[in-house]
Amino acid sequence: MECASFCAEPYGGKETVIGTITDEDVKVTAMHPEQRCTVASVAGHAMYERANPFYEFVPGGMLDMTDCKYEQIDEKTTRITGPKFVPAQEIRVKLEGAGKVGERYIGIAGIRDPYTIQNVDQVIQWAKEQVKERFGDAGYRLYYHVFGKNGVMGDLEPIKEIRSHELCVVVEGVAPDKKTAEEITMIGTRQIFYARLPEVKGTAGSAAFLVEEVLPASPAYVWTVNHTVPVDDPMELFPTYLTEAGV
């Protein structure tokens, strides 16, 4: 079973579950002595990591689970009936792919100065400007993740006013080659230290650095293909071979 006992309760994660498929129904049975497949746990899993629990698209059609019925038929087994298979006009196979965007470096800056924290957006804007002066507008990417503000949720973060006494700024610089990526990230990080805002009392030092350098990270990739392709033969993209293994 996909995801093993995620469809059972109590939560385990790696215990065996047996699925039995017949023309009439699907039965899901937990094998672990302490686990059960219940209506709630099995139906709950129908939602897991999917946009919608009712429709599952596969090559050649769609499984419509809108009218599925879930029943507890013994202590450890839930039975599901009622899915409808809706054949598609043509067979389509899902394709996924990613492409390299560039080399990546990471800079880490800590901020404790209350004024800098309050004006962190302007500080970051200043740092970006410094990179722009040197490298222009295009040909690289520079991202700021401000932990303590919205580093995790980004634009979805509902809390707009922060009361953090410390912020951690992770600077992510991406460019076609390592040297440029390093330089961009270095300037983008360092300039947090030197940001000139009207009321900054010090000369330099509104940020603290964990390391003096910026750190090489894994290259950056982005999803480039998330499509389906029509095929005449469902197996044409999946050649199979028979071979004999030596014993």
């Binding site: 139906a43 709950g44 950056a220």
Partner: protein, 123 residues
């Protein structure tokens, strides 16, 4: 009006990737009556979810009440695919919501972060 936190009613509140460009949210209740209460209150709606996250309703791709699981589920589009440079949450496991009757209140509800590979239907 009595105010109840969603975390006190729900058994599971989770968010996960659903494919490369969506994050899906599941709010699962242990008791059918709690589920019905929240479902019928209309507090968790497309409109309120959009308001809570400050997004346009068109960014919500799916919104369903799923009776067999006693669950409310909604899915939003990411602004860029998971794992892209600049993306702060590769697994989509962090944005959670909390409900208060009479208005949505944003809270980070503690949830398990599964460390699974970044692909649909992982494990």
């Amino acid at each position: 009006m009595k105010t109840v936190k969603l975390v006190d009613l729900a058994k599971t509140i989770r968010s996960k990737n659903a494919g490369v460009d969506k994050i899906t949210f599941d709010i699962i209740f242990r008791e059918k009556e709690d589920y019905e209460l929240v479902k019928n209150s209309g507090v968790i709606s497309k409109e309120n979810i959009a308001k809570l996250y400050g997004i346009d309703e068109s960014r919500i791709s799916d919104f369903v009440a799923f009776d067999p699981a006693c669950a409310i589920k909604f899915t939003i589009y990411r602004t860029r695919p998971s794992g892209s440079p600049g993306n702060g949450d590769i697994f989509g496991g962090r944005p959670k919501v909390c409900r208060k009757a009479g208005g949505l209140r944003a809270l980070q509800v503690c949830g398990r972060k599964a460390g699974f590979a970044d692909r649909p239907g992982a494990v």
